[in-house]
Symmetry: C2
Subunit: 672 residues, 2 copies
């Protein structure tokens, strides 16, 4: 359209070359460190090269203009090609296992594919709750993608409160069948991923009724669509639930059952059994344990994803800020916006938070492998809530820091944000599950008070009951009374920045708040409040306590990671020390009232914190672009006109508006 | 699809009836108060009835599935019908004036219509910068919608820094023409609303070059499309810039000029003149004043919009929270989620903040009418930044508080949020313009220090220069030194809640921070920093100071409004007192560290603040639904399955997923 556009522009990318030349550390080394080793980096890059060479996986701004049915079908084509590639490349790893080849190939796609859930939720849930005989029949069919499944728990009127689900499963002894029924509108299954258009089977959570007795919620495998025609079966009303703020390639669905019958043997029978005569037996709460351990795993995974998503947003915003100029400095040139202290104060805390999430996710995996399930259950709930909240806020901060252009889909940030936002609500709404962390701590505190912490029952049904090894949370409550009385003695910035001081600060605040909550609950009980009412009244403080405990973990793991690098004389230690200082002091400044209220800091030390933040921002600023580069996101991964590696942002933005990528401009004159 | 769905559901709306029956105040009275009088309410309702009866204005979930070209064309049809209605109803008011009939009709549409800008920006800018002779030609054509205009200031590489714009306008004396040219890619006009597809003329900001002299940025009226065919004129490359996070009915556009010639007389000549011989004269900085006063007006308007948008989000989330049940209380019934303290702590601060914004917007209009332009310029920049930030965060809080269903477009919240988000960036990016407030305060402080505050030049070019009446900001700086030393003496909650105490608290913090910033700038200067560098280094504190000054205004206007109701014994006074307490104490708790650092509060008073928040939340909870109802949003205005007046949310959600409203379900079996 415009002759010569592009030939006459300054080269904004020159600034990125300069930023990279000034890196104070070997960027590739940090990439290996973040990926978990050079081998992992090479595998990631190998699969990214394969994916990026395939036309079906190509991403562009045009994706943002697709209708939902088009998006869904594109995702299906990607899933199909992915399955073919796994075969062609003879990959054998477990899809759900971090570091496996199959997983690495999937991640290289860098896009939502709804049918992921087949491998992430449907098959694991089958394995966990169906008996070996049942699995012998169903598992091969699911693994061959013949049975396309989904996990149908939530209902229109009922979220995470499983006990309130209304769908019924009534045993009919005459025909040896179970009748699945949606008795009310509110009992309509609503939200399950892949239910809307893809799945032909669903694992349905329903209330088992036998001879008039309500035996509680169980799982049932229900066929919902014909295997040949894919048409809904009689009595099944099923469809997609509509457009969302993100994740629109996924067909989250609804389903109503009008007295649909299934064979009795399609009830999940690993931990409960229903005989031909209607006799019901159960092997205890094992099913619940499995459910909880699956949730713990998924929550831990979300913490890792937080680091990734936030790092993507930072890469886009920081690269753009390093090429964008605005406002005059001396000499008539406009200033690079990343050189504004305000821009640094907005973006760099996000950058170091992404690092903190990644380092903590690594530690969470280690806890998992070490079998510290009880501590992991306590920590993972709160960490999922805190990290996903900070990531949502951080991506939005990055978007806003890109000014007007961050409002464009072409920036990549709106869709990154919209799709990430589900993490605040799925796998336990953040404000609900944050309470589980404090509840776990209070239980451990109670157990410690009566002198039995090492053998106390673990909170929330983890698998470590009876173990004699002290969990992280138990060590925390054992030291809480002493920790709460610690006072900061630093009178210089250097003293404040000592890792031991930073760790003590976050430990003191968390311990003080835990004891505060215990006091508040005790006072309410003494005043005659029922436990539920007392808990409800203290909830804002309970959530605050959960966040403080998780901040303690984030700071501690950051310090441990830096210490491990220092121990081997790594050149990565100096830049990561600066990142650690910024992370710890920034969040201290953001919650300075809590550190003052708990008595850890005196008013005179506030200025010290502020000064420390200023200095740490300048230090991290120097390496900001290389620190982003180290995450290794390709242009394919970012799909952003602003985040390009080469910095040629204006050419990319202009191209994104042309008719090939923007349907608004298909006709030169609008037909309307 | 599902037989009998809807016949068997509980009636969730019953709870809303109960909430309304328990209202402690006459809801209709508050509606009149918020609308600015019963007359205004009646006019609003009259126009809403007219609009809601017209099929073209009908809103539904189906809107969210429209492609952008479809959305744009629908908006055009709405605009067309609106123009017809204005004629049919013989409305005569000014579109841009709050309270006029034309404005009320437009607002009743409750949807984005891109061509709004014709009346809000294009015509006012014509009037402000073109001479009377020029207006005689152009104004009738613009008012007849024959000339469709847009306001083309920002460029791809340049935002609010007008001085850096690159588009050139070169005078060609041979032909008495001016040549408009885009010399670089970064100089492409980018973002102007209605430029993409609608406008046939543009007011182009460009650098006037006469005989090799650069005479700075001026306005030029440039025809860009043919009046008959609407095809772009030769040398003009124009189009829409692509999908955005919201506001997608609007065709924000780009435009490149390849040596496009216009007659010399299409340069704006109200304040500058270019003669046939190339002689350039100017009548000073009047143009700049007009520009600034337009910006001030628009910013004040945004503050009012913040109250509206946040109140809409609160209405949706609070009504839904009053019918949604989750988790068991005693007796086996699930608890209404609005009865959870955590839910109250999330939603009710948003509700009272919306009230605060509305009350302050009313006051801002009064300042405007009273001619306090300098104070208004100082306040409006920071208020726009603070209120739009809090509104973005507040709408998102409301969305998250709706759990999973808030992720659905059918909730109405994603599009409300996406479209509102532009306000954080337009009319001055929030972090940029917040600085203007502090800059204005520092100038006034400087003027006061040298003893001449009453006649000091107003900050930033307002129109009050030389006025002898003291502006609000001047009164503030005159008392700043004394205010900063005030200490809170309240030892009971009652004493803390006195309006005088609340006002003193916010005044003290703002004064303390202003003096802090002055000290920091002074110290940097003393250490040899250039003014730009010193300002840059202090920027985070400068923005903090701006926010504190604006919080002072919000609290003060809230107190004044309640006092005026108390003075006439209004039954609205008691519920608004509770709202005032919650607003002031909530934001004090959120920034408790600043009140501790400034010395206003002692650590022992923190618990008092916390206790006050708890009590105020319970008081506002009682009237939460009636307080929402009082804003008077119709179901048309909210377009939300969750926010319906009748509370029948599950029926509405289920309907939103059916094929008529959800294209994903058009075919029973997906063609993919």
């Amino acid at each position: 359209m415009s002759k010569g556009a592009g030939s006459d522009i300054d080269s904004p990318g020159v600034q990125l070359v300069a930023e990279r030349a000034a890196a104070s550390f070997p960027v590739r080394e940090l990439t290996y460190f973040l990926d978990g080793g050079a081998e992992q980096t090479r595998m990631r890059e190998r699969f990214e090269a394969i994916v990026e060479a395939e036309p079906v996986f190509r991403r562009s701004c045009a994706d943002y203009s697709l209708s939902r049915p088009e998006r869904y079908r594109l995702a299906m084509r990607k899933q199909l090609r992915l399955c073919e590639l796994i075969k062609d490349l003879q990959l054998t790893g477990n899809y759900a296992t971090a570091g496996s080849d199959v997983r690495a190939l999937r991640l290289a796609v860098h896009d939502d594919i709804g049918s992921d859930l087949q491998l992430l939720m449907f098959i694991p849930n089958l394995k966990a709750t169906f008996s070996d005989e049942q699995l012998a029949h169903w598992l091969p069919r699911a693994e061959a993608w013949e049975v396309l499944g989904c996990y149908a728990q939530t209902e229109l009127g009922h979220g995470s409160n499983v006990r309130a689900l209304e769908t019924t499963a009534t045993y009919l002894p005459d025909t040896d069948e179970i009748e699945i029924h949606s008795p009310t509108l509110a009992s309509t299954k609503w939200w399950p991923g892949a239910l809307g258009r893809t799945a032909n089977h669903a694992i349905v959570f329903a209330r088992l009724l036998v001879a008039g007795r309500d035996l509680g919620i169980h799982n049932f495998l229900v066929q919902i669509r014909d295997l040949e025609t894919h048409a809904p079966l009689p009595g099944v009303a099923v469809g997609d639930i509509g457009s969302k703020i993100g994740y629109n390639a996924q067909d989250n669905g609804f389903c109503r059952f009008e007295r649909v019958r299934i064979p009795r043997v399609q009830m999940a029978m690993r931990n409960a059994r229903l005989s031909r005569t209607g006799e019901y037996t159960t092997s205890g709460s094992v099913a619940r344990d499995v459910l909880y351990s699956t949730m713990t795993l998924v929550r831990a995974e979300i913490v890792g994803n937080c680091g990734n998503a936030l790092a993507k947003a930072c890469t886009i915003a920081i690269r753009y800020s390093a090429v964008r100029r605005q406002g005059f400095a001396d000499g008539g040139h406009e200033t690079i916006v990343l050189d504004y202290a305000m821009q640094q104060a907005r973006l760099l805390p996000c950058l170091v938070s992404a690092l903190a999430f990644r380092l903590t996710a690594t530690h969470v995996t280690a806890m998992l492998n070490a079998g510290d399930a009880a501590a992991l259950h306590v920590a993972s709930a709160g960490l999922k809530a805190l990290c996903s909240r900070l990531t949502c806020e951080g991506i939005e901060t990055c978007r806003l820091a890109c000014g007007g252009h961050g409002y464009l889909e072409a920036s990549g940030l709106p869709s990154l944000l919209g799709t990430f936002k589900q993490n605040a609500t799925v796998e336990g709404e953040n404000y609900m599950i944050a309470q589980q962390t404090t509840r776990g701590l209070l239980k451990a505190l109670q157990a410690h008070s009566v002198g039995g912490e090492a053998t106390a029952p673990a909170a929330g049904g983890g698998g470590a009951q009876g173990k004699l090894v002290e969990g992280e949370h138990q060590a925390f409550v054992r030291g809480a009374a002493a920790a709460a009385t610690v006072r900061c003695e630093a009178s210089t910035l250097e003293a404040l920045l000592e890792p031991a001081t930073l760790c003590a600060a976050y430990r003191q605040r968390a311990a003080w708040q835990l004891l505060y909550v215990r006091r508040a609950l005790g006072a309410a009980a003494a005043a005659g409040a029922a436990p539920i009412a007392a808990w409800n009244g203290a909830c804002p403080d309970i959530v605050r306590c959960s966040e403080s405990y998780c901040f303690d973990a984030l700071v501690r793991h950051f310090c441990a990671a830096v210490a491990s690098l220092e121990a081997v004389g790594s050149p990565l230690a100096p830049p990561l020390r600066s990142c650690r200082s910024l992370f710890a002091l920034w969040h201290m400044q953001q919650h300075i009232g809590e550190f003052l209220e708990s008595g850890y800091l005196g008013a005179a030390q506030v200025e010290l914190v502020r000064e420390g933040v200023r200095r740490a921002l300048l230090e991290v600023r120097r390496d900001a672009v290389p620190l982003c580069d180290a995450w290794g996101f390709s242009d394919h991964a970012l799909n952003s006109a602003l985040g390009r590696y080469d910095g040629d942002v204006y050419t990319a933005l202009y191209a994104s508006a042309q008719p090939a990528l923007n349907p608004m401009n298909r006709d030169e004159v609008d037909p309307g």
